[in-house]
Symmetry: C2
Subunit: 448 residues, 2 copies
């Protein structure tokens, strides 16, 4: 696939506008997005201008903010106006929140008056809250009308909203009192009144509900859309399933960043200043550096041992590295199991037992490898020296596997986020404990 895309890309300059227009409009959007990454800015603009308006909107809302930024800059005023006119207000708000102030102003000026009003309303809310991802374009009706009237209403106003599949029933104060799905309407006689068939026990979220929480609610119920209410139960807008895709992806990014020892707040890399990147990255590096220097004292402490067996120091990096790797494996399994709900607390005993056996087997396997490597490959050590190192490594791996599983579970039980604590912090703990185990076991076997 990638190969084909690269071929199209390489032959792009040979294609006439008409051919390129056809190809770019008919290829699956996913492929177009893949191809996009290989294009120069000039080629990208050429392709973009050839797309249909609907496809332009689909593409630009799928791009990263840095791509959005320069692409919007390269558009003519009229092109930008038509584009933002077509876009859903919540997508416009997403773009406004991500791009630089100058582009933001250009986008703002290209909006129609009614779009400006909707956008202003949405910008009032925190972008991490449920209200921050909702659209104000939904269908609302009163409870006293009939199904037939409701269908006529949907026909008249359905073109301007994000979904016609749910219709929201509100009272005179705009408070939500019921929900009707288009499916429900189909199965009931036209003369029935809305209040006699609407769902009164509907699922909803509050404006200040965290967006991840809101996403989980929609996901758990498999609903196409979810109403967002203020504290007086007034309907502010709706969250649709496609917004939830974005939230899950964002959440994913935060978790991955945390595993990489960074604060989880999403700021796209290219849009971040050097200063903000340093600010985000240095706190954990300093904490881990200071914690890590415990190993400095440790090696200093074991210097007498090292005088008698200098070869032990040759293996220090590989011992800590391997301990870290096996600990990371088991903590990764736990963190993920907790996140997906696969692992629950009552499993703690079983898990530790399992990790003990797995760690033992891993330790024995790796000990065998390092024993052979130590004896047969340069710098070359005696077999009893290699035995000491192998035995020590086995204990380190066993310890790391068990602690790597235990720590995330305990951290989660205490109500903290195991994602942040795992990874590098675990590595530091394992470095310190692992080195101690290494020196102690080796000295015992070498009888020093």
């Amino acid at each position: 696939m990638e190969q084909i895309l690269e071929n199209i890309h390489e032959h792009l300059h040979l294609l006439k506008d008409e051919e390129l227009r056809r190809i770019a409009n008919e290829m699956p959007l996913g492929d177009l997005l893949d191809m996009w990454r290989f294009l120069s800015e000039e080629e990208a603009v050429r392709v973009f201008l050839l797309l249909s308006l609907e496809r332009k909107v689909n593409l630009i809302t799928s791009l990263g903010s840095n791509e959005q930024e320069w692409l919007i800059k390269s558009l003519s005023l009229e092109n930008a106006r038509v584009l933002f006119e077509e876009m859903e207000p919540d997508d416009v708000v997403d773009i406004l929140q991500e791009v630089s102030p100058s582009v933001r102003e250009a986008v703002w000026n290209s909006l129609s008056d009614s779009a400006k009003q909707l956008t202003k309303f949405l910008l009032r809310f925190d972008e991490d809250d449920a209200a921050g991802i909702m659209t104000p374009r939904y269908l609302a009706i009163r409870q006293t009308i009939t199904i037939g009237e409701a269908i006529a209403f949907i026909r008249k106003n359905g073109a301007d909203v994000e979904t016609v599949y749910y219709v929201y029933v509100v009272d005179q104060f705009k408070r939500l009192i019921g929900v009707v799905s288009l499916k429900d309407l189909l199965f009931v006689d036209d003369t029935v009144r809305i209040e006699d068939m609407m769902t009164r026990n509907f699922v909803f979220v509050r404006e200040e509900t965290d967006q991840e929480e809101a996403a989980k609610t929609l996901e758990a119920h498999d609903h196409i859309a979810l109403p967002v209410l203020d504290r007086y139960n007034r309907l502010l807008g709706i969250i649709t399933f496609d917004d939830v895709f974005d939230v899950i992806r964002e959440e994913q990014t935060e978790d991955v960043y945390k595993m990489g020892a960074m604060e989880g707040r999403i700021d796209p890399y290219l849009g971040s200043s050097v200063f903000s990147l340093v600010k985000r990255r240095i706190p954990w590096l300093i904490i881990l550096l200071i914690a890590g220097t415990i190993t400095t004292n440790l090696i200093n402490l074991y210097e007498p041992l090292l005088l008698g067996a200098a070869f032990l120091i040759w293996f220090v990096p590989v011992i800590t590295q391997t301990g870290g790797n096996s600990g990371t494996q088991s903590s990764t399994l736990m963190i993920r199991g907790i996140a997906t709900g696969e692992i629950v607390f009552r499993d703690l005993g079983r898990i530790l037992l399992k990790e003990f056996v797995v760690g033992l087997l891993l330790g024995i396997g790796l000990a065998l490898v390092i024993f052979l490597r130590g004896v047969f490959l340069p710098p070359g050590i005696e077999w009893f020296q290699a035995l000491a190192i192998a035995a020590a490594l086995a204990f380190v791996v066993l310890f790391s596997s068990v602690i790597g599983a235990f720590a995330p579970l305990i951290i989660y039980r205490a109500g903290l986020d195991p994602t942040v604590m795992a990874g590098p912090l675990m590595a530091t703990v394992i470095d310190v404990a692992g080195l101690t185990i290494y020196f102690e076991v080796a000295s015992l076997i070498l009888n020093l």
Copy 2:
């Protein structure tokens, strides 16, 4: 929130069945799932049996396979039969594919004959393909009927399908020739024929399309459902947006596992045997162990230097650790940027420049920390010794930041998966290169 859930949990035994039934059926499903983790098996079964049938289905399809397994085992035959009768066939298939053979048989036996047939049909397909996540319960009509007839057909058959919001138009060979949304139907006169208003240029996937690819297609188009076709263009089933939520989460798990140096294939932890866990974890550990022992030769090589400056060895673990941490940070940012489409190839130059500056600032900051720590905290070294270590660390951090950004981009450009290569493999490269830089810079400054 967690606190409240724990409170409910702690008072569970005080609640009468009627109260518990009301609470458990009315609380948001997400909260119920959170509470579930704190329950003992006995309590969990009690709560489950009090749920409404719809909620039972929602809950059990949201649980991990290990939870599904024992829960199904604890149900009476009749309870299980009613439950699986209510469930969507693709959800039944998911459960069948995850649980142990004995539970699988019990589930199978509890299915009605028609459910067995649907399930058998679905089990023919690979669970990682588009066809593996589709449901065969969709609405299909012929092109010659009118809108009015189509709506009557939907009314008659809509209760048995997963979505009524798209209706699929097929010819006499079951080949898909058009798609009509319920929204489209609303806006057209009842007497119009389907063929005159159906969308012929519809989005679809093939049965063998990878499920992640299919998920991306649905996501890019924001469709509620996507038809799955065989190679003769016959309609096999549809993928709905809620299946895509599951695919995104699975994909997420695979990526996280890869970052933790494990093969990405999803096998729930608790359901995996010790042997399969060892098999999945040991390959990378051995590769990294062998690669990591290059540091053994390296320290051996620099032994003459260490004889003159023994304190250098005290800082070896913290130097490799810090190099690894800063390299992980920048590679994490790249991997994620590539995954979200935020970073494209033409940005390579800008990124390396940025990482150079960021790495320089991080290096200077961390050098300052280790200088102060070296001089003022035990074991205590001379200021010029601390200076040598600090300068060496700065270079290591600078190198790690740049290489951590460079490597994933080059790996991706070559058509490989940067997720697997990053993390531990990066750490090994940084260990080796970092130690060399460390020893060289330190010996230069110490004039040894």
